[in-house]
Symmetry: D2
Subunit: 284 residues, 4 copies
């Protein structure tokens, strides 16, 4: 192919490394990739038992397949809320118990990997840590799937190399998640780069998710970009929801309230059903 | 609204300037905006009578509502093919005659505006000229709709100000067209910024098109991004097609061949039909 | 050379096209390039006879070799001050008469080229018009040197191609002027890219100027960046000054008052004297 | 102040937090800030005893005040040379013994902080880890000065917040180092943002260094940009040198050979001497 990028040194994750796209399992109930779509929703940060359980139920009721929530939060300022830490992990486990949803949560410190892996069904590595190689290596030894976000100024080739760090350590269960890149435009918090979806589909067998919440930074733009991501071929979505977005401790401006999320989940299911026949034809 | 941008000085084009979205008519057969979708296709440059007529027929047969083709080409190097000029306009008129499709073609020089306006149904102002104010003012005096592309490093606010130049001179028939912005990513030719769609929908009443051909620079990525644009709410698409992309005089790498375009046009019609009920509900 | 860029199609302007760097003359008193340094100062826009004459005298008294001032102003919004037009050109001619300084002024419209070339000693093509090819071609026919700014998202290779448009039409008197590019950083108005200086010195024989006023957007940062540009090997500087920056009709925040400019001009002369022996050694 | 940025939440590092600029000491022989300039040189990676000792002697003989060298290397691909690790630290200590130069070396993993702090005089945190908060916190507990590079897509405000993480944990000895940001330009590896120097001088009391080797990615451009950084007011430079750049295991294209570095060090000393009186005047 004459595309503008090759997967370069990222051999194990390259499209040519295996016969068909990967499918990554989360817990016993959900999977993503190779035709399986996954909708993940939840609050940016775990703030309290009530907030998390309400969000988990709203996610489940709307049809989400997994729950997201941050216990360890990477914040630009040291004076901002840093997450509930280990207590947040306990609350996430309780929410899983209550709803049956597998949980996705972020790890920041390689020393916390065993603790996080004990509670999480999927370990998230955030955009600030995508070239934190000790953390990537630890994730390569964890017995959990890894959701690897794109760095804010990371090329797609560099992103695949970051995934290769994890896979080359022995963990082939990696999900890539586009979440917006840094550009000159200020109307959105970041520029969600949906082009990454077809580029990644050409270069790697790994499943591709999209996070329109961080990618736009504004709740009003999330539904449009979520549907666009699905139409472009994304294998999943990661969406922030909150019972009361205006009072969220972090990223409230980009969180959907529950009714808006329920409508979006419905629209996405409808859109997916429409696109399905095209997929079938495409794969013949 | 608490979005990251306001329309600022762009009063006449702002969402609040009129009760409902604008609908812009092209010739007597087509229109775009306020629920009307427009698919425009054609070659990057008019190369010959045969190439253009074949492209026009392929566009019409696949269901496109207008034909694009460049007679005056803005090329980075002075030694590259610069277009057929006035002869290209004659060929475009012939293609319109043959197919019934209204034509969209670019003007580079304010002195050419009367000539181009005589032949074109829609005057295109390209990404290199979006802050060429004498050209914008001339377009404001032309009695033709104007398709205004986004500049490569233009913020959305600046783009709306460029549209305001045209509208404030008396021509309110402006269509905005996202075509990719400059970022650090090199896997795609530009970064097609689909976020611009919901942002523009919140800020302006003007119709919004997307050009996934320039936006990605690779034919293989065009169908995914075209569908994504539709799902995000675009009012139209501008797509490059060529009877023999490998031998195109400009931008062959991003042009679709005719069968691929026909499949894409079919998929888009199907997708549009699916999304329609959602639109209706949204506007209640 | 194994640099990250070649001059590509830009043959006539390439370093290898002639034996030594070009020297461009302005009027009868000034020149730039091949060891000759030029300091250009003046207001962003010509606002009035008093404002311009005061600025011209302050420029001359501080040691500037030419006067800048905009009669035709490219403004983002159609409702902002657009310059005095032809009247501004008359005032510039009067300021030249009064001070002996050659004048640099911008042209926006190819139809204005004869008028502007009649008054200007150097024709400026601004950052919004660096890929306005009809304007570049007209500049190629003008019998005046051309100061070609870099576009806001223009690669150095594209910039050289824009210069090639002018030179290939017969006008070899082109001066390049770096003025900042679009990036994600918002602490400065643009990111002044001083790297362009050594890159251009390796690729082209044309003289290279720097505009730290637009490049930073803040008067407080102009002196540091002006000195940095000189240390990096720039052949000249373009600096905005105003008798009363707080009340300027455009770009006041980035304009120096006269005493600050006089100190900066003195520091630059001192720095130039220091660097001279290094230059001599380098050219042996 | 009416600058485009404030130091925001970065209180302890803000300009207003103390009466005069900070001076940070390295070992017993060197310091940087508040008028003290520091030239740091050495190889990108410690490759061997011979390579490091030769580089250390060349650095010292040319007048450098400290030696840099990477033992733990953050590499984009997992299959590239990752550094000598603990063995590299021993070699760095030997080079310090041989030359008297304090050593600057990078730490990637919070678990390695005690080991690195035992050998290093200055702990470097690289551009990929500037928002690796556990690592920043560990650096805040280390009893060594910290050289904090700017992230590739980090705004200046975010950079100051990263420094605040270190200082708020109790370590006030932080040096900031600009090393280039991600932009669309490909002629240089990154775009070295010298504007950051005057912006930082307005916002923080911390010393500011510049790394023109990473910032440009090409040895041919390093001398120009090093001098520009000094003229813009940088407190120090970090420059990569290698006995045989063409055979370096990492970043050879941007490393200076020893004679070129010696000439540059001489030119910088000369430039510094010239600029000194201006500084004195400025501080009156």
């Amino acid at each position: 192919m004459s595309h503008g990028v090759s997967s370069g040194n990222a051999r194990l994750v390259s499209r040519s490394a295996q016969g068909r796209p990967s499918c990554v399992s989360l817990g016993e109930t959900a999977c993503i990739g190779d035709g399986h779509f996954l909708l993940v929703a939840g609050p940016c940060a775990v703030e309290s038992r009530e907030q998390l359980l309400a969000s988990a139920r709203a996610a489940r009721d709307a049809g989400a397949g997994a729950l997201r929530g941050g216990a360890f939060k990477p914040r630009t300022s040291p004076y901002d809320f840093q997450g509930l830490g280990a207590e947040g992990l306990l609350l996430l486990a309780e929410a899983r118990e209550a709803t049956g949803l597998p949980i996705v949560t972020e790890v920041l410190d390689p020393r916390d990997m065993p603790l996080v892996a004990e509670y999480a069904d999927v370990i998230q590595i955030g955009s600030r840590n995508t070239q934190n190689y000790p953390l990537l290596r630890e994730a390569g030894h964890a017995r959990r799937p890894v959701l690897l976000k794109r760095g804010m100024s990371m090329t797609i080739r560099e992103w695949l190399c970051a995934a290769e760090y994890i896979v080359s350590e022995g963990n082939s269960e990696v999900i890539l998640c586009e979440r917006g890149i840094r550009t000159f435009e200020t109307a959105t918090r970041h520029t969600l780069d949906l082009n990454a979806i077809p580029v990644l589909k050409a270069l790697t067998h790994l499943p591709v998710m999209v996070d329109p919440s961080h990618g736009t930074g504004h709740a009003a733009y999330v539904p449009s970009m979520a549907k666009a991501a699905v139409a472009a071929g994304a294998d999943g979505l990661l969406i922030e929801i909150h019972p009361d977005p205006r009072h969220a401790l972090s990223d409230g401006a980009q969180s959907l309230d529950f009714p808006t999320f329920a409508r979006l989940a419905h629209d996405i299911a409808h859109l997916r059903a429409t696109l399905a026949p095209q997929r079938v034809r495409a794969s013949i």
